[in-house]
Amino acid sequence: MPRAPTTTDAFNAVAEPRRRQILDILVRRERSVNDLVRVLRLAQPQVSKHLRVLREVGLVKVREDGRQRLYRVDGRPLKPIHTWVKHYERAWNERFDALDEVLDELKREDDSNDASHE
């Protein structure tokens, strides 16, 4: 079954745990490749490779700052993923709302049982 077509790129990009880690780091503040190499303890070519994938799907933006290039997160491509998960969440919310009603009833039964034992 195909995924929602608009989400394919960002999905693939964040499917890789290291790339999610990079996003987690960059979401706090912008960083240079060297910063990321140090924090992640990865070889520089690996970090650059991940950054390239993230840039291709637009999740990471870059700017020149003197001699270095600084990377930062752009969350907009994640919106379709968010939407996709929200639909699933809604299905469960409906189910859980019905469960709330059952629980209210069980609580009332529990309370009246307690009262009758007093």
Partner: protein
């Protein structure tokens, strides 16, 4: 008195490419949440949400025991799931497999989804976590998509109602 909606929302996250994690709080002690989760007559009342009604709710709550739920969605089609209990710690934890019953599926029980449900209580509020471990990302995505289809269907139904009201 003002009516306060007690509805709390579930949080869905995707911790890894093959997992789905659902977290939800309930204003009830965990033994009651566990009871509502494991008693067939009670499950029949909530598992469908507003989508339909249960026609089968079988729960053999012991390790190696089987469960099977079937619901009729909007009086149109049947959707069935079944699985086996792998671990049971009353009022705390249930691990079970889950198989979506599809006509013509090739050996659907070979690589089931595994659900781990945990019940944790704090100050009378129970936090339920449901972790779904899928055999592949593809399966995980299909499961999420099933929610999407449901959501889309709801949206279409709403649209239909609005359209009718405009007539």
């Amino acid at each position: 008195m003002m009516q306060v909606m007690s509805s709390r929302s579930a949080k869905v996250t995707l911790p890894t490419p093959t997992q789905i994690l659902i977290t939800r709080e309930f204003a009830a002690p965990k033994h009651l949440v566990y009871k509502a989760w494991t008693t067939p007559e009670l499950v029949s009342r909530w598992w469908c949400g507003q989508r339909g009604r249960m026609t089968v709710t079988e729960i053999d709550l012991r390790v190696g025991g089987k469960w099977r739920y079937v619901m009729i969605v909007r009086d149109k089609f049947e959707v069935g799931f079944h699985g086996e209990y792998r671990e049971i710690v009353p009022n705390q934890r249930i691990v079970s497999t889950e198989v979506y019953e599809q006509a013509g599926a090739h050996d659907p029980d070979a690589n089931p989804v595994v659900n781990t449900i945990k019940f944790a209580e704090h100050a009378g509020v129970t936090t339920l976590t449901l972790l779904t471990d899928c055999p592949s990302q593809e399966v995980r995505d299909i499961i999420i998509n099933s929610g999407m289809e449901g959501g889309m269907q709801e949206a279409m139904d709403l649209l239909e109602q609005v359209a009718i009201s405009l007539r």
